[in-house]
Symmetry: C2
Subunit: 347 residues, 2 copies
Amino acid sequence: MHVHLRDGKMMDLVTPTVKQGGVSVCYVMPNLVPPITTIEQVIEYKKQLESLSPSTTFLMSFYLSKDLSPELVAQAADKKAITGIKCYPAGVTTNSSAGVDPNDFTPFYPIFEVMQLKGLVLNLHGEKPPSDNDDIHVLNAEIKFLPALIKLHKDFPKLKIILEHCTTKEAIQTIRDINKGKSSSEDITVGATITAHHLWLIIDNWAGNPINFCKPVAKLPQDRSALVEAATSGQPWFFFGSDSAPHPIETKSRHEGCCAGVYTQLHAIAYVAEVFDKHGKLENLKKFVSTNPLAFYQVVDEQIKSKDTVKLVKNVNEIPKVLGNSGEINVVPFKAGQSLNWSVEWN
Amino acid sequence: MHVHLRDGKMMDLVTPTVKQGGVSVCYVMPNLVPPITTIEQVIEYKKQLESLSPSTTFLMSFYLSKDLSPELVAQAADKKAITGIKCYPAGVTTNSSAGVDPNDFTPFYPIFEVMQLKGLVLNLHGEKPPSDNDDIHVLNAEIKFLPALIKLHKDFPKLKIILEHCTTKEAIQTIRDINKGKSSSEDITVGATITAHHLWLIIDNWAGNPINFCKPVAKLPQDRSALVEAATSGQPWFFFGSDSAPHPIETKSRHEGCCAGVYTQLHAIAYVAEVFDKHGKLENLKKFVSTNPLAFYQVVDEQIKSKDTVKLVKNVNEIPKVLGNSGEINVVPFKAGQSLNWSVEWN
């Protein structure tokens, strides 16, 4: 429920890998250049994606910015052009320069009103921008953001909010606190996605290793444990969002600064299954990757383009060293050259 | 008092930059392949370095390993072939695979006895190796090492020990605690070096930026503040050790894992001066880079090959984008392409 499919040749390369990785319904990030902020853009983008992978269901999003108006958002919701709106704090990750100031969301409150009314999802990249003065750095940027999440939920209790790609035990605890005592899925308005790679990585794995570097950065062992515990718990407010974020190999091999993002889509379900298996929790895998997110997003049958089902199969799944198309563009997948014990098979 | 001059073409390139960077006396690290563990090796290596930079004083070191014996160490000390011995925990940094197990130094106690007797310096790379089971990762590896430093000092109160390239406020505090109440320089047996780059960097600066990635990694803003405060304090147990660690640009531009080390030697004093200036502490610069380390190492006049003096000059000091020799080997310096406000001039 959170995938970067890019545009141009990168889009051509990675869009078919959504299905190959075992995913039928995906929620597509809008951080293109320029960001997606009009109904025309979103329709055109979806058309391109569907032509590349006709049986994948693409749920589309707007990029929260001053270019949006409550009227436009209402119109996009009525036309079912979008499922939600992604909010990027300015400057924290790939193509986020058009993002918002997370210290003050009030300029966007009229938009949030409309979103709440129309049932749109607000997807939060939950990090404060780095600041020497405020002692904000990559390790505590998410923790420092959590009060803003709590306030947003308080101000818009019925707005569906997702804390995307959460990485800290503090974030997990905050989501649990917010959902305390909730039983019916209708009561749940705040959820969190967890990526495949954050179930595997800690800081040591990206220190000096650009392929594993992403934002938010993977944190400490205790954080990874909290993420694994949350993901495998089956609790309905935790679900899979791959945040698969491909970059050309060249931009991952730069001594002077490399792009943030881990590409996981081609083996998305297999990476997750391996962790669930290791912790003896395979029985909760379907909840994490399917039941919980479809319920949170209230995806209805007629939205789903293909009723094909996917089966988890135990066999050796070799991850290629590189994924490329005719030498034009090459992406190094997460755990490149390694092998997993699980793969997927479509019926 | 801590510089990596490597061997072969890299040695040819970086050895003359010790003097160019404003440094007359340097202490040379022994982590070549194979590591330096014999008197013949250390004499030959010193000869090579002196031929590359005749007016630089090279203090030499052994690599602590099972290849050393108390007898060999005593002999090397008597011949004044070495000034100290560097201890690398196995597996924590460049060419440290021959290192020791920092959970148990007792196999080396007979060597430490000799070192204490002969006045040799023990240089500690103060990090525990990463361990999932013991919750040791790049952020706390130094903190977890500190009890071993305290124990070593307790067991060998007269052995000169340096905690090299310290990076945490906890390390600074430990050095202060050990030296509490000491006034005479003869009483000081435990010191710590601080690098130029750790006075500048925090975790955000190396996240996704291989040029700034080194071991120990730069930590949080509060740690950097503690390092700056310690370095500029003038306290005799804190002094400069650049840990300048050049790597060819190719090994810093690898998506699948890049080498740890920041090259600073060409502008060593200028980087440090800039920080001291920014904090209004230029008056303590000489203590940090010269008086304190020479006193700790008890360097005597007849050891120093050149009596040339160096002057700090305020002018624009452009750092090249790359330092190379005839295209054979290229090294990207710290803050490449930027400019400093200070440079050095030899008289």
